[in-house]
Amino acid sequence: MKKLLIGLSIVALACSTSIFANGASESTTKTEDNSIYVYNSKGENAEQFAAMCAAYEAETGIHVKNFSIGSGQDHMETLRAEMNSNDMPTIFSIQGMKELPEWEQGGFVQDLSKVTTGDFGKMVQAIPEGLRLSSDGMNSYGVPYNVEGYGYIVDKAMLEELFSMDPTADIQAASYDEWANFVTTMTKWIASPSAAKVTLNGKVYTLASQKGPLSKNLTGVFSVMGSEKWTYGDHFINVAVNAVFGSSREAAEATDAQVGELEGAFEVYAKALDLKTSNLAGANGPAQRGQDFVSSAKFGYDQAVQIFAQSKALFLKQGNWAYGNIEGVDADVASRLEFLPVKMPFTAQDVKRTDKDVADLNSSIPVYVPNYFTVNALVSDSKKQMAYDFLYWLNNSETGKDYVINQFNFIPYNADPATTTVPNSLGNSIISYIDTDHTLSAPYNGSPAGWSGDTVGKFVMENYLTKLNWTPADYKTIADYAVSTWQEMN
């Protein structure tokens, strides 16, 4: 009897496993036919992404199974699980150099530079070098998903009220000293307005002698997310990394000695961060560094966006992704936004790269590809071809482009800056920087995993953003720490 029952349970177990196995093989056979599987590592455009895939199926008859992660979900964990399953994604998106090593070493990513034929081959060859996802300068592993950029976001109407004309071009071109003087003058002006004079790009401007309808709300110059380590740990420091490295590949390949060359740029970073966090706007008046400043309930992402969108701050350092957040608070403000460069007090000695000088760095904004579509190298050749066709369609057909620009609200990597406009002010500001060739890249992505936000950002947050007064020795400590941790983690 006992044996019989053991036998029965083994049969039951076998049955249940065969059900699982059956389920798996069913999905493989399904994808073997006329369909591909696209894994989208962005959660915010999940709905529109599914609609785009449906549109592709309607046009070509090829079924596109698509998966978008949930908002805030860890896209890498989910992607690894999918890669371990029988039904691997044909196309998957990754965050550039930061995530490439894993997929390259595992042999999951197809080298697209080997594809030389057809429309897709031409498209891949035409990806500008600065936007190419390459681990050695020769290979090319991805098609850019979109481009993003960041800088100091400013409300043009606010500037016009302060200057009674549009000074953006001169602020963009201004030197760091002029900028720093403008910032401190503004802090004084906010405390008690006077027709003070500021020099920007050599031109003298006179500030309004009285507060106007927008500027009466100002409580400080900068709205800063003190509790968000990535804003100063990743993005702000990236501007300094740009002084030495031109691309994330250069940063990733850097020797200890080359990393050591960042010392000067990182001191400059600390100085610029000091200026920024010494002229803070708060929700109910001027704010200052201290323990409140790193509290997520007071200076988190949403709080800082709100401070800016309610015209309480002149500048907010963020990217075009923040457009929707600002629009959520005040759609009028959102319609008048523009980017200004993040300026740092670089000297010629700090800048080690030859293709940019101090003036270039201080008049450009970082514009880079945050995500790439990569093709799975482990799927059949026919699948790969289907993936190429899909990616070509997405970036070149009228329908595909319409989805990228109008539904995803993205800036296409291959957009012609002279003719492309997108339906939001910040996107258009980025396009104009691309058009005038005033862009930096995102070499911090080539730094060791966890170095920027989780190491330097954390160090700055825990030890300095909580501290009211900084000394030049602090600049040095921050720079030393940033350089030595990069070298250790390499």
Binding site: L8, S9, G107, A449, D454
Partner: protein, 319 residues
């Protein structure tokens, strides 16, 4: 004459035992299959992986510096374990967790016992109080963490203990921004969450103490404190064992509250969070090392659990 009721129960017992014997495997099989599928097999796979250069989606061959073609190429022996113990972050998390466990065990049990004794001593309204004290235990760790983050950052810092408030206490402000203070913040959160639960166990223990003991002691002129020391505490020993070890085990496994409250900032990473974040500390992710940490973690929890079972059964024999 044998009384009827006993015979009836014997018959029922016999039938039940017969059913149990016959249907033992079919009844146990579903649970066994589930246990094997979601606990046993993954554990064995994980244990094996802790000796390999596992990268999450593939195995790495350290000799050729590329993807391994077989398990054996990826075998690294005890390297992952060595790296785990050499990892400063892992060791910090380990000691921080131990410190937390000590403070938490004392605080939670003192509060839980106090609540239980209090409820035992009042005659009216014990029910609602018991429900209220137990209620926090119904909330998830993440939700609790975020609620308490708000309490610490706003209520403690700006309202209750602010410089212009009545109860100005600087050490209770910015609780989440300092390694030591954050440890106590986490303890406060967990006392709030677990004390009600432990209280139920103590209440059950208190209910099992015969009232004659207290009556006899009163006749002998014992004070309330003497009664507590000499009767309540010894009689509650089995409850103590259960509660102590439940809190220790929970302290080691604590994750959600740690993530939500400080996310490891200001050196507040605990063991579970450390294991979770190890895969983010390098590219490609070192899943083998994370797995080795998980095995060490398992051994710690296993030792605690074995001691718990031993100690509990030893106490039970005494009664």
């Amino acid at each position: 004459m044998i009384p009827k009721p006993i015979r009836l129960t014997t018959i029922i017992e016999g039938i039940i035992m017969n059913i149990y014997k016959k249907w033992f495997w079919p009844l146990v099989a579903p649970a066994l299959i589930l246990f094997a599928a979601v606990v046993l097999v993954p554990f064995i796979v994980g244990f094996v992986n802790s000796f390999l250069a596992w990268r999450g989606t593939y195995y790495f061959n350290p000799e050729t510096n590329s993807r391994a073609t077989s398990f054996f190429q990826s075998f690294v022996g005890l390297t992952n374990y060595k790296e785990a113990f050499q990892d400063e972050r892992f060791m910090n998390a380990f000691w921080y967790t131990i410190k937390y466990a000590i403070v938490a065990v004392i605080s939670i049990n003192v509060v839980a016992l106090a609540l239980a004794v209090f409820l035992d001593s009042i005659s009216k309204g014990a029910g609602p109080f018991r429900t209220i004290f137990f209620l926090p235990n119904m909330l998830g760790g993440l939700a609790l963490g975020f609620i308490w983050q708000f309490i610490f950052q706003i209520v403690y810092t700006d309202i209750l203990f602010a410089p212009d408030a009545l109860l100005h206490a600087e050490f209770l402000r910015y609780m989440t921004q300092d390694t030591t203070k954050a440890l106590f913040a986490l303890v406060i959160l967990n006392v709030w969450q677990y004390a009600g639960y432990m209280m139920i166990i103590y209440t059950a223990g208190l209910n099992n103490i015969p009232t004659d003991f207290y009556e006899a002691a009163s006749l002998d002129g014992a004070t309330a404190w003497q009664k507590f020391r000499k009767i309540t505490v010894p009689m509650l020993m089995s409850s103590f064992t259960i509660c102590l070890f439940m809190v220790i085990a929970n302290s080691f496994k604590l994750l959600d509250q740690n993530v939500a409250l400080t996310d490891g900032d200001f050196n507040t990473r605990m063991l579970a969070l450390q294991i979770l974040r190890t895969t983010k500390d390098s590219t490609p992710p070192n899943y083998g090392k994370a797995q080795a940490q998980a095995v060490i973690f398992f051994v710690i929890i296993a030792i605690i659990s074995i001691i718990q079972v031993r100690a509990t059964s030893k106490r039970e024999l005494e009664y």
